[in-house]
Symmetry: C2
Subunit: 153 residues, 2 copies
């Protein structure tokens, strides 16, 4: 398996994605972003296992997981469009829609850092570890501020 | 947004992925692969819209969707490991586990063709269309043979 990948995502690109994504029903969009999150978490877990030494560092596999994460975080960032705050059970906090600029700024940073993950994974376990820490810090920042404890409809 | 991507997946690589993926509970693996499928379908739909002319052909976005598809089809192929035939509602047919070699051969082909999709998307709407047809034909082949009409536990 050969993998080479460079992603440089800009706020403008995210805007394009967001504009495209908003043709979906709110309930479908909520389910979609929850699926995106689940798949992302699996790949984050796989990288975490390699960083912790629970599983051997496997560069090909690490890059592939990193690519999945970089790709999916961009789709995730584009999936909180207007009107998708309710329609199916969700933990997405209402503040996402009441302070969209602040939320978008966080996501832009998140997407940019996640975009660096494939290159970091293509180095070694240490370069992966450093960039993984950046990415998961951004995960946590956003979840702390914008993910509710309970699901709501 | 800059995107460059080459994936060449081999059966050996898939084996590695599969070996890693089998540390999960059957119910988690079933939910994971359903999420993978849902996210893949969204990206297939986006490409189909560009091919049909419902939305303008956007090369950057097309490549990004193609990368998501290529990545996720590989994870999907690795998510039907032994013991994951039941544990949560699933339409995955029991034949997947009774004729694993035949199933794996189909998936290897599917993964290989999906791996060519990012390069095809980086061409134009016509190169994308041709490779998209290959990929969706493989989707259909496998769904016809290995996806049940009804969910079972």
């Amino acid at each position: 398996m050969q993998l080479r990948h460079v992603i440089v995502l800009t706020a403008a690109a995210l805007g394009t994605v967001a504009a495209t994504a908003q043709t979906f029903k709110p309930e479908d969009q909520i389910k979609y972003r929850q699926s995106v999150m689940q798949v992302t978490q699996r790949s984050l877990g796989a990288l975490n296992g390699m960083i912790r030494g629970d599983t051997p560092y496997n560069k090909e596999l690490a890059v592939k997981h990193a690519e999945t994460i970089a790709n999916l975080i961009a789709w995730s960032g584009a999936s909180f469009g207007p009107g998708t705050d309710k329609g199916a059970p969700t933990r997405a906090d209402a503040r996402i829609w009441s302070e969209p600029d602040k939320f978008k700024a966080l996501y832009d940073k998140h997407i940019a850092e996640a975009g660096k993950l494939p290159a970091a994974a293509a180095g070694d376990a240490n370069t992966l570890k450093a960039q993984f820490a950046e990415v998961t810090r951004n995960c946590k920042t956003c979840h702390d501020d914008y993910r509710s404890r309970e699901y709501r409809n």
